[in-house]
Amino acid sequence: MSTHVMAQHHPAEYQPPHHFPSARAEAEASKVGMWLFLATEVLLFAGLFCAYAAYKTLYPEIFKGAHKLLDLKWGAVNTMVLIFSSLTMALAVRAAQLGQRLNTVKFLAITWLCGAAFMGVKYIEYSHKIHVGLVPGQYYDMLGFTREFLEKFPQTPMSEVERLARGAHLFYGVYFLMTGLHGLHVLIGMGAIGWVLVRAMRGAFSPKFYFPVELVGLYWHLVDLIWIYLFPLLYLVG
């Protein structure tokens, strides 16, 4: 009798809620739900990508000029960090599929740390831009832009720098909105990873019940997907 009770609490004996015929049906249905949510995320970011395309079409020289003040090195580092975190996230899901509790926890922890590293780099980038005045709207500092631009590209003719300085806030508006919304998603993703990490440590998952790890993984990969477009569009071609 007591072994029967214990077996019920063992994760391998996971029973789905009664309205699902099987654990697999539950996982599949949850995944469809997650993909529908991810589709709305794609459309949310599409609005900002469209704003980027529209402003870039209208003011191509300003985008080309203003993007040069983004730090390509930090952008490339963050790209590598996110791509690596996507790998570790995929490996965490794989470990969960196989019921490898320790590996699941390990890979989730590495993924979380990558997210933290990404936000650390973003903090360095943001604080420099805010300090210099490369921000959107009324806090934009034309003189700050001019100084920063001449420091990096001293050969540029003054008339050219002046023309860029008048419009660069448009680029930084798009930059801060896009990377800001993306950064918010990284933070939410880190929260979600933390949640499945704690559950994985407690031994909640098994080869029959691991879909929460998979769904968090899908979210994290989407965050990576968005960055895959943001990095070249903002840092490389501007």
Partner: protein, 118 residues
């Protein structure tokens, strides 16, 4: 690369579909190489092709992530349909917006002809 072919469908229906680690590492390596390519290519000026090349490379990377890391290649195809559906909506969003922006200049001479005293 033979491991890419390894994922089999002979599991029972309730077993998770597990890909070998080598597939994930290969996809990661491809992503790193493609990132290197997009950074390298950005050193040259191809005019209006700059953005197109950047988006093409990014889309290749995005396809790798969604097909392998997100399992779309092995999943129920309905999930792939949802993603492609959202991308179709994105295209509907972009196309008229950009057509409008890039052709407004064309209409002005015609408008001045029809409404000279505007």
């Amino acid at each position: 690369m033979t491991s890419m072919m390894a994922p089999s469908h002979k599991h029972g229906h309730d077993e998770p579909h597990v890909l070998p680690v080598s597939v994930y590492v290969a996809v990661w390596a491809a992503l790193v190489v493609l990132t290197g390519i997009t950074v390298y290519v950005a050193h040259f000026d191809f005019g209006s092709w700059n953005t197109i090349i950047a988006v093409l490379v990014a889309t290749t990377k995005a396809s790798l992530v969604s097909l392998y890391f997100m399992h779309l290649r092995y999943d129920n195809k309905f999930n792939l349909l949802i993603l492609l559906g959202s991308l179709m909506l994105v295209a509907i969003f972009f196309y008229p917006t950009l057509t409008d922006l890039t052709t407004r200049g064309l209409i002005e001479p015609i408008r001045d002809l029809i409404l000279p005293n505007r």
